[in-house]
């Protein structure tokens, strides 16, 4: 856990002593997180050898060059929510962008913002809303880094309208060799930030995928991201007090519908019909566990309500309508939705019901995620089952029913996952129903046994997906060796690119694909 001789001094000289720290009191703050019992418990985790705080792209270049010179590795991070940000080897430093926290520009006309890596969604959206714009906020929470999330999934509540993982425009990207690669319109020094595709070979393709390179190919130091029209109030409309905030959007422009269908198949049909009719801004199957956790001010509250709520809240589709053009749009879309709901035998959850009271903040959650970390409240640890693919709505449904839930039930029988017989996922529509993705939610205790059960189920779902020729997405790090051979050996291409761009393996060495298959 220490750097090669001279390296620390070199970093200090470059950044100033106050911006480099190797004291365990500080580095331990970067060595632990959720899921670690289940993942790093096996593979080992390390305190970083140091944490550095660059203040600029130039600083990052310097750090990267020092890492190459002295042969140690680094992990660029956003807000460190993801396990790949915890060092899995010694001699690794963390590049923490806390000093790079500025919104450099919001172009109202052309709908983009230029941000540094420690700008969060909540911050950016708050500024965007002032000028009639918004951004789709990751369900990971509005407190995560816009830059990190866009390179990972960039998937949020309003993805039905605004799209999935397509938010990146111009970027400044410090490559593992320390050079700056200008992505998109940044490649033309006269152009600015507005566009993401490069002139020439479109290297933006290396910047994002379903889960990005996880810091394995250098660090993006500035990114322009897409903003979208937003017809609502200039500040996020919240009322009430902690922990019972309620959102309060003007109903003529923002309308939440919670619709209960007789079965999941009907719900799926409704999603298709909504997509074909090109209505709505957010469309999600909202599983009971997610809704109740979101409404739970305490774990006790959740468990008191859960047995009954689980029975009541089934096959519920949440549909948020937004009047981008005017209230007329909401009126029209509601009419279409009413027709679809009627055809499929759905029933609106009434606004005077207890169910509505529990679910109504869903509209706030779609626009600015503020509840999702309550998922961890339910049992201590939480994640979604692996082996899900991003494909069609039908596909999401099939994967969930055919093998995901059976595997989840195994974990439930062992008592490691919370009981849940709804078979409802967080199943989402993106880009007006063109894509979908499903996340069966797993709640388990944060201990080794439960973690092991979780990881086993997780891996099994990946294997099942591959065996059944249903594509799996999201294999992180070593898991690529499981998926790769079943998927045109993509992992080898990725690995070759990693080796070429990061020959000394300084940039988060085990990502996107580690050099060796797992032992």
């Amino acid at each position: 856990m220490s750097l090669p001789p001279g390296a620390y001094e070199a970093l200090e000289n470059a950044l100033g002593a106050e911006n480099v720290c190797d004291d365990p009191a500080v580095t331990s703050g970067y060595s632990y997180m959720w899921l670690l019992y289940s993942t790093h418990a096996q593979s080992g985790r390390y305190r970083p050898a140091a944490v550095v705080l660059p203040g600029s792209t130039k600083d990052v270049q310097t750090i990267v060059k020092i890492a190459n010179r002295y042969k140690f590795s680094y992990i660029p991070v956003g807000t460190n929510l993801l396990p790949p940000t915890i060092p899995a080897r010694p001699d690794t430093i963390i590049i923490d962008p806390k000093r790079m926290d500025k919104i450099l520009q919001i172009d109202t006309q052309n709908m983009y913002a230029v941000v540094e890596p420690y700008v969060t969604y909540a911050q950016l959206q708050a500024e965007a809303m002032k000028v009639g714009l918004t951004i789709t906020v990751a369900e990971a929470g509005a407190q995560v880094s816009v830059v990190a999330n866009n390179m990972f999934q960039g998937m949020g509540g309003t993805g039905h309208k605004f799209g999935y993982n397509r938010g990146i425009l111009g970027c400044d990207w410090v490559l593992p060799n320390g050079e700056i690669l200008y992505i998109g319109s940044r490649g033309n020094p006269h152009a600015g930030w507005f566009w993401g595709d490069c002139a020439g070979l479109n290297l933006k393709g290396l910047l994002r995928a379903d889960s990005g390179h996880c810091g394995g190919l250098g660090m993006v130091t500035t990114m322009a991201v897409k903003l979208f029209p937003y017809p609502g109030p200039k500040t996020f409309p919240v009322k009430g007090a902690n922990p019972d905030f309620k959102v309060d959007f003007p109903k003529d422009l923002f309308r939440l519908n919670l619709i209960k269908f007789p079965d999941r198949k009907k719900l799926i049909e409704a999603m298709y019909e909504i997509g074909h009719a090109e209505i709505a801004a957010a469309v999600h199957e909202e599983p009971a566990s997610m809704v109740l956790s979101g409404a739970s001010p305490s774990v006790e509250y959740f468990w008191e309500k859960w047995p009954e709520f689980m029975k009541q809240w089934r096959n519920v589709l949440s549909v948020t309508l937004i009047g981008f053009s005017s209230p007329r749009q909401v009126v029209y879309e509601q009419k279409v939705l009413d027709q679809i709901v009627e055809e499929l035998g759905g029933q609106y959850i009434r606004e005077d019901s207890e169910l509505w009271r529990i679910g109504e903040d869903n509209i706030g959650e779609q626009i600015r995620t503020g509840l999702s970390n309550r998922l961890f409240r339910v049992a201590g640890d939480f994640f979604v089952i692996g082996g899900f693919g991003f494909d069609s709505i039908d596909q999401s449904y099939k994967m969930s029913e055919e093998y995901m839930w059976p595997l989840i039930e195994e974990g439930q029988r062992k008592g490691h996952f919370i009981p849940d017989d709804t078979h409802n996922d967080w199943l989402n529509s993106y880009q007006l129903g063109h894509f979908s993705e499903t996340e069966p939610l797993i709640f388990f205790e944060h201990d080794l046994d439960a973690g092991a059960t979780f990881i086993t189920s997780y891996m099994k779902t990946i294997q099942e997906a591959l065996k059944r020729k249903m594509c799996t997405t999201w294999p992180l790090g070593p898991m690529n060796y499981i998926a790769g051979p079943h998927m045109c050996n993509y992992h080898e291409l990725v690995l070759n690119i990693k080796r070429k761009l990061d020959p000394r393996l300084t940039s988060n060495p085990d990502y996107p694909v580690p050099q060796q298959p797992p032992g």
């Binding site: 006309q109 319109s185 290396l206 910047l207 298709y272 090109e278 981008f324 993509y490």
Partner: protein, 513 residues
């Protein structure tokens, strides 16, 4: 040849002193070796080195230098392509894929010779998936063919502006030709793809990776990964990274009713302002702006005189906007969008109408041509003078005026009448960006004019670049222009190319690679 040193010529080393006939014999021998190798794969009747045929592939409509292939092959299936590519690696033979009938920007000109793989006869529409609004097609499928097939399923293809009859839909998507509908989610319309890698191995992107379509249990919809965003990397790669053998692309619901509106504008800024506002309201489908020259090129059926009359009568700029209804309550959909459209128009001080003043034919032309290929022999861009040069790039609408002014200045500098330059402004993603296109007609028979327009084209391209134009489709000269100013991008692109195509056989020279 054991050492793979293609394209790395040591200019300092004296050439081996070899008699001319020996060199020629060697070449002939190589040529024959290539022929037999390829014929072994595709059969004798699917390979040609007929000079007339080769000639057709050796140049195109652009100013790019010619380059003659040694062979053209017409493979029957993917397996043959894989074998050809593998063989090409052995023979260090450049491979240039071609799918469209007409080429415009030099991307399919075999700069360094080699073999052209012509896929224009690959016309299978494998699947029309109404439920998922997708269609999987081979590279030879054209827009008219696709649209005809989709319509019976209640779907529409995402059309660029008046594509050529022989334009490949696959190429159009791969080259990211701008689509007429600026709605956000249509700007990346590729779901999954099958690609023959430069190694000759078969690769599929997104959820298609897990198995070939026949065995694949997904709907081949998921575009992500695996690993990297290959769809993005391969978009606009001009065949330098492999050969796409099918694409699964978006199709959209076919409108049940449509209403077109024409808004005369006296400046591009006015049109841009209106378009921005509409984009934020997120209404409508097709939306684009033409200047009077471009409009006249499209509408004149009877030659230059008519062109001039229309041009005189046309507004400086015309914004074309389409509102449509789908399956459910179509009239009400049109009604609310129309109300919002006119409200916006009033705010922007413009007056849309269902007719173009003084040009009665315009309305019916656009009513039929938004989902159609150009149906006459001479392409609209060429109708005025027989040929045309094009400059297009990505910019923002608020910069369009500056680009146009600069281009007009360049035109004047080169003695070209700026009023004859067509302008096409296509908003992308609700207007966050725009494709701006200039069409510069010229007489191909007039050598002086050709030279002048070529000079204008180069100088104007540079001027646009200096104003911040993003030449995402970096064809020919433009590739050198953008690479010149972006060394790290260029170096990194070369590294990627080296990994995927170590022998540099895939369309070498393109993108500066």
């Amino acid at each position: 040849m054991t050492e793979k040193v293609l394209a790395k010529v040591d200019y300092l080393k004296p050439l081996p002193d070899m008699p001319y006939d020996v060199v020629m014999a060697g070449r002939r021998e190589y040529h024959e070796r290539v022929r037999t190798s390829l014929a072994d794969i595709v059969g004798n009747d699917r390979i040609t080195d007929d000079q007339q045929v080769l000639e057709r592939y050796s140049h195109d409509k652009s100013f790019e230098p010619a380059g003659r292939p040694s062979f053209v092959v017409y493979p029957e299936n993917v397996e043959q392509i894989c074998r050809i590519v593998k063989k090409a690696n052995e023979l260090l033979l450049p491979v240039v894929p071609a799918s469209s009938g007409t080429h415009c920007y030099g991307a399919a000109i075999p700069r360094m010779g080699g073999v052209v793989i012509d896929l224009s006869a690959w016309k299978t529409i494998y699947k029309i998936d109404h439920r998922n609004r997708a269609t999987r097609i081979q590279p030879g499928v054209t827009y008219d063919e696709l649209q005809r097939a989709l319509e019976s399923h209640g779907l529409r293809a995402l059309f660029p502006l008046l594509p050529r009859k022989d334009q490949s839909v696959v190429t159009s998507h791969l080259e990211a030709q701008p689509k007429l509908i600026p709605e956000f989610n249509y700007s990346e319309p590729i779901y999954t793809a099958e690609i023959v890698l430069p190694s000759g191995d078969l690769f599929r992107t997104g959820t298609a990776a897990v198995a070939p379509p026949e065995a694949n249990k997904t709907d081949l919809i998921g575009p992500w990964g695996p690993g990297f965003d290959w769809n993005r990397l391969y978009t606009r790669a001009q065949g330098t990274l492999g050969i796409v053998t099918w694409l699964n692309i978006m199709a959209e619901p076919l409108p049940t009713r449509e209403k077109l509106f024409f808004t005369p504008c006296n400046s591009i800024d006015q049109a841009a302002h209106f378009t921005y506002r509409l984009g934020k309201k997120w209404i409508g489908y097709e939306c684009f702006t033409l200047n009077r020259a471009a409009l006249a090129m499209m509408l004149a059926e009877h030659g230059p005189d008519e062109y001039r009359t229309i041009k005189e009568n046309a507004p400086a700029y015309l914004q074309i906007f389409c509102i449509a209804g789908l399956k459910r309550f179509p009239d009400e959909r049109i009604a609310y969008q129309e109300a919002d459209f006119f409200e916006t128009a009033r705010e922007c001080n413009v007056s849309p109408s269902v007719q173009v003043p003084h040009i009665p034919r315009a309305a019916s032309f656009f009513a039929t041509h938004l989902r159609q290929c150009w149906d006459r022999d001479v392409y609209w861009k060429d109708m005025y003078k027989g040929a045309s040069a094009e400059i297009f790039f990505i910019t923002t609408m608020d910069r369009a005026a500056a680009h146009i002014a600069a281009l007009q200045q360049e035109a004047i500098r080169f003695g070209y009448d700026p009023s004859d330059i067509g302008v096409y402004l296509q908003p992308i993603e609700n207007g966050r960006a725009a494709h701006l296109e200039f069409i510069i007609p010229y007489d191909p028979g007039n050598a002086y004019e050709v030279r002048r327009v070529k000079d204008l084209w180069i100088n104007a391209s540079e001027a646009m670049y200096r104003l911040g134009a993003v030449f995402t489709r970096a064809y020919g000269y433009w590739a050198d222009m953008v690479n010149r100013c972006n060394a790290v991008q260029y170096a990194t692109a070369r590294q990627i190319k080296e990994i995927l195509d170590p022998n540099n056989i895939m369309n070498p020279g393109k993108l500066g690679l």
